[in-house]
């Protein structure tokens, strides 16, 4: 465990170097982030100019949810999506071999090797949005509630991770899966709103096929005191199952890669 943490620290340090190589890009990403979060808060404010609640969600609660959305997105975009982008490239070019030669868990290596350090700012801003929302809600947040929130946030990120891993694993068979990922990201956009505002068919797919709805709504519910420990435990079990299935698929994909590649 300590070894893997040390490894992760080395990855982060090396990727920080990488981003410092392209400083212009770094500043642009930060600017882009303010723009994106600003406009989506704007959209929510406009919507609530016409109504006071949306299927039981008040404006402050919606702000909290939006913050959670960016926390989850930030977590995924900080580590997993840059790593997976490289993974698909490695599969195409054949440099995945170098990862397979390393005496470490290959799934860990391909999931965390590359970071987009600038996305850590998303996490920070997401947290600010959550806090602002909570202040508006005016609720008292206890230790237990914060703990449940942190846990469900972690589960949410891992839920999205398992789906991403499953999708990129398909690149072993199809080589190019960028289009699938584009569909995936389009779906995650829907996570900006609570999953229960959508019609049934979309609610079901946002909770099962692309569980971003669950991943975002659950932590927002947890901090708002609408989800108890049992709910969070269920979420944890579901997440563990999803990660297990994705890992199994990954191992199968890897076997087919080492069984056939030239």
């Amino acid at each position: 465990m300590v070894r893997y943490l040390r490894m992760f620290r080395a990855f982060a340090a090396s990727e920080f170097q990488f981003e410092m190589e392209y400083r212009g890009n770094f500043y642009l990403s930060i600017f882009e982030m303010f723009l994106v979060i600003g406009t989506s808060i704007g959209a929510v404010l406009i919507m609530f100019g016409h109504t006071t609640t949306m299927n039981g969600w008040t404006l402050p609660e919606m702000i909290v949810l939006l913050g959670v959305y960016y926390l989850i997105q930030g977590g995924v975009n900080l580590v997993f999506s840059p790593s997976f982008e490289r993974l698909m490239e490695h599969v195409r070019v054949g440099t995945l071999d170098f990862h397979l030669l390393k005496p470490v868990n290959v799934q860990f290596l391909v999931s965390t090797r590359h970071l987009r350090v600038v996305r850590a700012a998303d996490l920070g801003l997401g947290l600010v949005v959550v806090i602002v929302g909570l202040l508006q809600v005016g609720a008292q947040i206890g230790v237990a509630q914060s703990l449940l929130f942190a846990l469900s946030l972690f589960f949410g990120v891992m839920l999205v991770y398992s789906l991403l891993l499953g999708l990129v694993t398909l690149s072993f068979w199809f080589v190019r899966v960028e289009n699938l990922l584009a569909i995936f990201w389009a779906f995650t956009e829907a996570g900006r709103f609570p999953v229960d505002v959508y019609p049934l068919w979309l609610r079901v797919s946002l909770s099962t096929i692309v569980p971003i709805g669950i991943a975002v709504t659950a932590p927002a519910n947890a901090i708002a005191g609408r989800m108890d420990a049992v709910g969070v435990a269920l979420l944890g079990a579901g997440t563990a199952l999803a990660v297990g299935i994705a890992s199994a698929l990954w191992r199968r994909g890897l076997r087919s890669y080492t069984g056939a590649s030239a």
Partner: protein, 340 residues
């Protein structure tokens, strides 16, 4: 510091190793492309057809064969990247495709056409990542890096982004990256590919010196015979996935080329020399004659005696190794038949 195996056990032990690929096949044209998208047709390609060999600790062995002979497939099976279709192999006492930690820490695979370094950052930063991945202790890391820096003259290269390095410089840092964990076995796949003559020489000297200092076992493939001549006393030749020759490089010419080459320089123009052997080239006062190996001494003596004062210079040698290898690979017949 290096992976330890019993003294008498071979470091690389390969028995009847086989690999069959299933490849998709399709005809050209849009309709055929569509058909193959809907329903793929497969064809089996035999890449490695039951090869057997052993390599002892500290040996540097050249692995020769034309493109598509099965060299890279074999190296990939030996480094655990591919499951074989049949046969057995152990490297450092481990079955490679089980990918055990002790095996992976004890070996390295360097490919001349692929890079493991991150393009946009200096090699030194990538090295730190490798240090953590292989859990190399601080003191050992410093010592190894110092040694590699010294041997490869890496000093000025380590802190420049890799994309700014020349091909030769990049290969040097690739070597360092692959050897940071002091592997006991190194598989080198075309390590001098595309390098200029002086850089090829540089890499060769490094490999020889590294082998001498560390005692690492090295299996090397290369298209440049100079690499093999400079580094390997022993060569393994494969063609169409079949092992053709395994033995001393010095004996390869004798076994595979049944002739010697006599070069003569005359004081006047060259007349008809075909009575001495097969004249393969002649212009003005230079001629090259191939003669059966067994008769080389007698023919040379005759040339000296009969040409007398006309003769300015004469030399007898084995044909160049490239020529020998070329001849072997050009023939479709397996060598066993050719030699029978």
């Amino acid at each position: 510091m290096y992976a330890v195996t019993p003294m008498d056990a071979p470091v690389v032990d390969v028995r009847a190793l086989r690999k069959v690929y299933r490849v998709t096949e399709r005809e050209t044209g849009l309709a055929a492309t569509f058909r193959s998208f809907v329903r793929r047709r497969y064809r089996e390609v035999l890449a490695v057809d039951g090869i057997t060999f052993h390599i002892d600790a500290g040996e540097v062995v050249g692995f020769l064969g034309p493109n598509g002979a099965g060299k890279t497939t074999t190296l990939k099976m030996l480094s655990g990247l591919l499951y074989p279709t049949g046969g057995e192999a152990t490297v450092l006492g481990h079955v490679p495709w089980r990918r055990e930690g002790a095996f992976l820490r004890g070996m390295t695979l360097l490919m001349g056409n692929r890079s493991q370094l991150v393009w946009d950052i200096p090699a030194a930063d990538s090295f730190l990542v490798l240090k953590e991945i292989y859990a190399v202790p601080e003191a050992q890391y410093t010592r190894t890096l110092d040694e590699l820096t010294d041997l490869l003259d890496l000093g000025p290269l380590l802190h420049k982004p890799v994309r700014g390095l020349s091909l030769g410089e990049r290969m040097k840092v690739e070597f360092a990256a692959g050897l940071l964990h002091s592997p006991g076995v190194a598989f080198l796949d075309e390590p001098t590919l595309g390098l200029d003559i002086s850089m090829q020489g540089r890499i060769r000297r490094f490999v020889a010196e590294y082998n001498r200092r560390s005692g690492a076992t090295i299996l090397l493939t290369s298209h440049y015979m100079d690499d093999v001549v400079a580094l390997c006393r022993r060569v393994i030749v494969i063609h169409h996935g079949v092992l053709l020759y395994d033995g001393a490089l010095a004996d390869l010419a004798e076994r595979m080329a049944p002739y010697k080459r006599i070069s003569v320089t005359l004081r006047g123009t060259v007349g008809d020399l075909s009575t001495y052997g097969e004249v393969v080239s002649s212009n003005e006062n230079l001629a090259t004659i191939h003669v059966p190996r067994a008769q080389a001494a007698e023919r040379t003596a005759r040339l000296v005696r009969e040409l007398g004062d006309q003769l300015a210079d004469i030399s007898v040698e084995d044909p160049p190794i490239e020529e020998v290898i070329d001849k072997v690979f050009a023939s479709e017949r397996p060598l066993a038949e050719a030699m029978a």
